[in-house]
Symmetry: C2
Subunit: 241 residues, 2 copies
DNA sequence: AAAGATCAGGTTGTCTGACATTATTGATGC
DNA sequence: GCATCAATAATGTCAGACAACCTGATCTTT
């Protein structure tokens, strides 16, 4: 099935153009941007287009504008948002994304093992119970699975880390949905998953970071297998070269 | 020194408004947005304001619009960009940010130890040499330091992970610049840092993930100390509770 | 009756021009 | 020298228009 790709809108082209000016160093940090009128004339587009483009760059923290004064490049021209780099434009590399999540999740498990308090453990255990009680209900048990892993990330007590964990999760489920619509592959191995969860939980409860991290890694690796994904080699148990 | 709080621009308020509408579930995924004319009338602003707001949300992957048809909520209403959550609006928690970087860097070191190839090792070594040769030149040695850690992250062979590593680095240097303008505190401990780097490099070259991760963690912890930062307790060497 | 062509209405994309609000700057007066 | 004030200019917002395009209904042809 073929897809027709369309030319970029003017706004998109202006955004790319300004981004490149900055990346190439022709526009330096904290230097002033030409006025919107000038930009409109230089690029031969209307001021509305310029304003929409600048509006996007402002939202990314790349530009700053002050009414009555003008717009200038931010002190941090790299911006304040993180976008997953996508080469061709749309498709994400599911395997690499999952691999990164595996690493984050493993690190989270290790840290959680040394920082978790009683409330964290209760929250994890509760999620496990819900998962066990609703093993037949896919939506419920999937939600409990997310909650279990989220409780682990939350036990690290770092809001940025937690936010990034959530971000990866949402990106992954979204990408998976668009890739294969059949996530039913999970159903088969739910018993194994439950055991892996229990192991992981035990290591965290015991306060054993190394074991927790390894349990998490094994669990995620197994999950990938259940989803039919092929990851690069394992991190810790790989043959030496 | 006090700061004058200004009311948000109309565009910003519209953006927040639509975001909230989605977060609260009043606007469902894949459902259509009112037309720009309707939105303008409902919110009592001009269409230009609506267009700028929608433009931002499109850039974040929250909205999608098709000419002649309309705009609708994306399948992934969480968006495709990651923003560091900032409560009050501007200041980031430097300690938490640094802590997260420490974790990422430690994980990167461990993975790199099992994935690095000859070219990776050469790249790291080269960075170390540059750093040693220009110990007195702050800018040069700082750049080499960045390059060293970047080579480690690159050796993990995961472009998303590398991109996130870079993002954290840029955010951190930016935040540090605005916090204290004097990063001269680094100068004193450059000899220690050099030793830590050598240790870390040796572990990676040897292919010992656990040691590499621990070296990286110690190094970053020491760096934090040299910067006068107070981090939460270490992950692995913390007293049991 | 079914398939294709045409048309009408609506929506986003872009352009134009205007006014409001705010910051900079230089002249003025003392 | 210093405060005041007008002139200038930039962004923020508004209003209206046309272009390009999509959808669905109607009309035409087979």
């Amino acid at each position: 099935m073929l897809e027709l790709e369309r030319p970029d809108t003017l706004v998109q082209r202006v955004v790319n153009s300004i981004r490149e000016e900055i990346a190439s160093g022709r526009l330096l940090a904290e230097s002033r941007l030409p006025t919107e009128h000038q930009l409109a004339e230089q690029l031969n587009v209307s001021r509305s287009v310029i304003r929409e483009a600048v509006s996007q760059l402002k939202a990314d923290g790349i530009l700053i504008s002050r009414r009555g004064f003008g717009s200038y490049i931010s002190k941090t021209p790299a911006g304040t948002v993180f976008r997953l780099p996508s080469k061709n434009g749309h498709t994400l590399d599911l395997a690499q994304l999952f691999e990164m999540r595996l690493w984050i999740e493993a690190q989270a498990a290790g840290i959680a093992a040394s920082r978790r308090n009683a409330a964290d453990l209760r929250r994890m255990e509760k999620a496990l119970e819900v998962m066990a009680a609703n093993a037949s209900d896919f939506d419920l048990s999937a939600a409990a699975d997310v909650e279990f892993h989220r409780a682990i990330a939350a036990a690290c007590r770092n809001e940025y880390f937690l936010a990034f964990h959530d971000f990866l999760g949402s990106q992954l489920t979204a990408a998976r949905r668009t890739a294969w619509e059949n996530s039913a592959a999970l159903r088969g191995g739910s018993m194994d998953a439950q055991n892996e969860h229990r192991e992981l939980f035990a290591a965290i409860a015991l306060g054993d970071p190394e074991t927790a991290a390894k349990c998490a890694e094994r669990h995620l690796q197994a999950s990938a297998g259940r989803l039919g994904m092929v990851l690069p080699n394992s991190v810790y148990h790989r043959s030496q070269d």
